[in-house]
Amino acid sequence: MTRTSLVGALRSPLTFSVLAGLVIGALFLVGTGADPFTAYGAVVTGALGADGIGSTLTTGTSVLGLALALAVPLRAGLINLGGDGQMVLGGITAAVTGLNSPLPAPLTVVLALLAGTAAGAGYAVLAALCENHLGVPLLVSSLLLSYPAVSLASYLARYPLKEPGSSLPQTRALPDGVALPAFGASTVTLGLVLVLVAAAAYWFTDRRTALGYEIRMTGLNSRFAAYAGVERRGLTLRLMSVSGGLAGLVGAIGVLSFPYRFVDGSLTAPGYTWTGLTAALLAGAAPLGTVIAAFFFAVLQVGGLAMERTTEVPRELTQVLQAVVIVFLAARLRFPGRLFRKREAV
């Protein structure tokens, strides 16, 4: 790396934001009486060590899936905040399909994945229709639609579909064989491969196709894109169906992996949607960057648990860290640069 490109990388808002996040996290650690080096060391060894790597890849599957789901519309400047609802509907649909399908187990798995994807896509399209035909901003319609979906899935898991005799709010376990194959004895399943394939497809579309170019152009300057003939409503509809489909797929993968059933809250409680959005924002929705950012945050999330065990600092610190990174990035702060330069006249 030449000297100028090194300086350039250091001064990029991205590097600054991540470093600033880590420094502020360190201040918090010092504030609670922990040694930042021990704590961060525990995060890294806890997430990437032999005991943690499986967990990191499992969490990474969900985080990356939702990061992609949110990156696809974000590339065109659209923000889908309804990931929770779309994911949960995908999960409960996959569970119902898996429990009731008359097909042999391997085909049932495929059917459940497709059904979950379709459910998420269909629900996300609803939000797109709200924006296109009712003028309700996507940001708001997708988020508000998410709450009833989460409530509905919760109701289904607690009452009509509840496992008889169980005290937990969960559906019955899927039949034998209705599960995504796992790698060895780990909890990492074929779902990781599916999500990585989706990332590769996104990279290809973004870089190599006219559609990808239209999406990026809309994100950079939507008026110019419209002038150049990009049909915005259709694009919104298509992007949201892909976005919701990916979120639904993540829900289906969650149900078809351990514990092989829909458990109320297990998909939404870890906050995959928000972590995924944070990753997509950090990467500016660029395909490769989104993959890297998603795994960075998966490491933080899983490593946070190890940090909590070693230093007794609550794992919620990693959530603070994520948000701080995005605050800095959104304000477009960078190394000395802007703060010390004379501001242009208003």
Binding site: G135, P137, V140, S151, L277, L281, P314, A323, I326
Partner: protein
């Protein structure tokens, strides 16, 4: 009987936090700042009010601390969006996330508990005539904001900043000053909203206890077209939905149905109003 005076009373209680937050959001909207950080500022207000009330024994100091803390927090939006010209939408989302993490983190480091902090000796706000003092304050704030925007020169300039910032700047009005003022004011109002939620409606703190109310406030700003009286009506709609939900739960409807009710009603109202006038005013900070 579903609709009676009890229901109206509980609706009026439920609407107070939404109304306070939405008033702040409406003022920001008028000055051309799309503020979707209401949820986070409110949540920070919830925690600060509970922590302060617990340590000092005075809910009033809790209210004051909540207002100050949320105002300080709102500086992130002011500096980021107004001075550094960052993206207000992304900043707002990040502020909401940060507040969830920060309050959960502090809940565990300060009180050593996870989930909920609930203690019999925690002092809540007193009720006067069935309402907390903050409820009366919120109604007064509607009147003050309405008069300010329609009659006072400050309000007229504020609207000028939002509608034509360049023209306002030409006339010697500094847009940034007005935008900082309304963002800080929205912080104060959201802090009060949080205090009302945590010390008025109940007397406890739960992780993520705002549960989307800040977002409902954002919708109330749109529904009410950023006018104080319109915002009041929109917040009343939400209050009725929440109160009716609780009532129906008492009649045996599952909790999940009533949890979803306010969001469904809010969405329904959005559909109805936009079906009538076709398009909502687009939030100023949102992408075209």
């Amino acid at each position: 009987m579903l609709l009676d005076s009890d229901l109206v009373m509980s609706a009026l209680r439920a609407l107070t936090p939404i109304l306070l937050a939405a008033l702040g959001g409406a003022l920001c909207e008028r000055a051309g700042v799309f503020n979707i950080g209401l949820e986070g500022m409110m949540l920070l207000g919830c925690f600060t009010s509970v922590a302060t009330s617990w340590f000092t024994g005075s809910p009033w100091l809790g209210v004051l601390a909540a207002a100050l803390a949320a105002a300080a927090y709102s500086l992130i939006l002011a500096v980021g969006a107004v001075t550094l010209k960052g993206d207000a939408v992304v900043l707002g989302i990040a502020m909401n996330l940060l507040a969830v993490g920060l309050t959960s983190f502090l809940l565990r480091t300060v009180f050593g508990v996870q989930g909920t902090f609930d203690d019999p000796s925690l002092q809540g706000l007193p009720l006067i005539g069935g309402f907390s003092p903050l409820a009366y304050l919120s109604w007064a704030a509607v009147a003050v904001a309405a008069l300010l925007l329609s009659r006072h020169v400050w309000g007229l300039r504020l609207r000028g900043v939002g509608e034509a910032p360049d023209a306002a700047a030409t006339l010697g009005v500094r847009p940034a000053t007005y935008q900082y003022a309304v963002i800080l004011l929205s912080g104060v109002l959201c802090g009060l909203a949080g205090a009302q939620l945590a010390l008025g409606n109940v007397t406890l703190f739960t992780e993520n206890m705002t549960a989307g109310r800040g977002w409902i406030a954002v919708v109330a700003v749109m529904l009410g077209r950023a006018a104080p009286l319109g915002v009041l009506l929109a917040a009343l709609l939400f209050g009725l939905a929440e109160a009716a939900g609780f009532r129906l739960q008492g009649l045996g409807l599952p909790q999940q149905a009533t949890d979803a009710a306010p969001y469904v009603v809010t969405l329904g109202a959005l559909f109805l109003t936009t079906a009538r006038r076709r398009r909502l005013p687009r939030p100023s900070g949102a992408r075209p």
